[in-house]
Symmetry: C2
Subunit: 307 residues, 2 copies
């Protein structure tokens, strides 16, 4: 008798494991460390052993994974954060399960976070959703007709690498420059904060050697002009990227998550007010929401895939 | 006994009607003029009467429409080219059909053109497709998992209105400036051709008072530097827009259609060579194809919706 869905969010330092009932209610959750030794070859066996120790696998309908990298057909293409290169995560885990009848699905971690918000968070009840996860980078997740869009090469929702800064002022981790990540993520906010404080000696941002995105937000809220310029510019790039997504798939709702989203309504208002200048004039009522599941979104969304 | 699909592409001057068997083979086709008098209120009744005169409606499984404007749930939001404003095309046509058991579906004309290429053209066999229709404007059609993506406000695939020219040199029909249409369509190629010939007195484009996109292509192929710059810039913007679509939905194949696509391999090579600089480095083998159905794509795609 199938009773449970397991959602597994495989991160670079920890693996979050959630046990859900078939309705998507979280019953239990665990964190286990990510063992990246030997090119990450122990990760999947250790997950299997842990699952086998906490739940009767015969009662599990499906096991869903979120993994950090582009995924197509269960294969991760570039799993460097885990010590993996190309790995058939789905195939390997099905082998570990042997002849048990369990569905296994694997998607990119930003995509499953979007699915999590659909399953039990800010986008519950919506079938066409775009999530921006704004943290150190900018991840994106696209849901169409209730299904995750991984894309042919696994780069569906990789909005962080849209070229938006045509002056290409900052270099991205991907090797290119001008990506949304370089100006719209926490890193990007720091990039812009440093740039604007350098040309405004009155800015209080100059008091600190090391800047964080939170500092820039906090001083912007207090009216510091250099900080405000940095936030206005970062949110303008985010709004522009959201307009581009609109003109491709025109989702019902945009959800903004990740560490930067803790800036809350201040962030959302900035993004929303700058969004409409970029979209078709008759769009005047787009829906924006803050993510609700925090760093559990991936776990929920991983389970959503096998519901 | 249901034997036929009807595909109806409602244009501003003519309505193309195709009769297909259930496999999507075109059996017969007709053109009737678009009667835009009285705010276009005769268009749907005249289509109904024409259909009733050429086919036994009891043998029709479904009737699909492509209409020029954003569509959601069968309702066109802005059908100005037909004299329509907001019109429930699906509802009105179902009323005309009375109690006949016939599926009716309605989508945007650029979206159905994409579906046409999937049904019987360049994207046959693919389930995740993006079509750019490059003519007077730039239309887009998005197919995910075999289904058209109309979008919440009907602007799914409205790639022509992505802001790509941040200098906003040319005004778009939509009222904004800098849209892809202003630099990537036939109109855009003329815009750029005029700009580059004005600063290059040796350009043969200066011989003509009135430019066309075809002229600019023809002189570019002959090595005229101003014409080449115009084509390189236009195709660069198109390549950039395709990269943005990639980073949202990462389709299996891009199809390029519309009048400008008759420039053929010269156009496709220019787009493709400029595309890779904008996408994730490991994408090195994207598929690009020229549309195959010409101006019959809409008719095919309209029928595809009700297959």
């Amino acid at each position: 008798m199938k009773k449970y869905l397991m959602g597994i969010d495989v991160g670079g330092t920890a693996i979050k494991i959630g046990q859900f009932d078939l309705e998507g209610i979280l019953i239990n959750k665990w964190d286990i460390p990510t063992n990246k030794t030997d090119c990450g070859q122990h990760i999947l066996p250790e997950i299997y052993e842990f699952l086998d120790s906490i739940v009767n696998l015969d009662e599990v309908k499906g096991i869903g994974f979120g993994v950090p990298g582009p995924v197509t057909n269960g294969v991760i293409k570039n799993g460097v954060n885990l010590g993996w290169d190309v790995l058939d995560v789905k195939g390997e885990f099905l082998s570990l399960l042997g002849n048990k009848e369990i569905i296994v699905k694997v998607s990119n971690d930003a995509n499953v976070a979007a699915a999590g918000e659909v399953f039990h968070g800010a986008a519950k009840g919506y079938k066409n959703v775009c999530l921006f996860t704004i943290g150190t980078g900018v991840g994106g997740g696209i849901i169409i007709d209730g299904k995750l869009v991984d894309g042919y090469d696994g780069v569906g929702g990789e909005v962080g690498h849209m070229l938006v800064d045509h002056n290409r002022r900052f270099t991205c981790n991907c090797g290119k420059s001008g990506c949304l990540e370089t100006v719209g993520s926490a890193t990007g906010i720091v990039n812009l904060g440093k740039m604007y404080r350098a040309i405004d000696s009155s800015s209080k941002l100059n008091r600190y050697e090391k800047l964080s995105a939170k500092m820039v937000f906090d001083f912007a809220k207090k009216g510091d002009q250099a900080a405000l310029k940095a936030i206005d510019e970062a949110t303008n790039y985010l709004a522009y990227a959201l307009s581009l997504v609109t003109l491709v798939i025109n989702p019902e709702i945009f959800v903004i998550g990740g560490g930067v989203s803790y800036a809350g309504k201040f962030l959302l208002d900035k993004i929303e007010s700058q969004y409409y200048q970029y979209v078709t004039p008759f769009i005047t009522h787009a829906k924006f929401a803050l993510a609700e599941l925090g760093n559990e979104a991936g776990m929920y969304g991983a389970a959503y895939q096998v519901r």
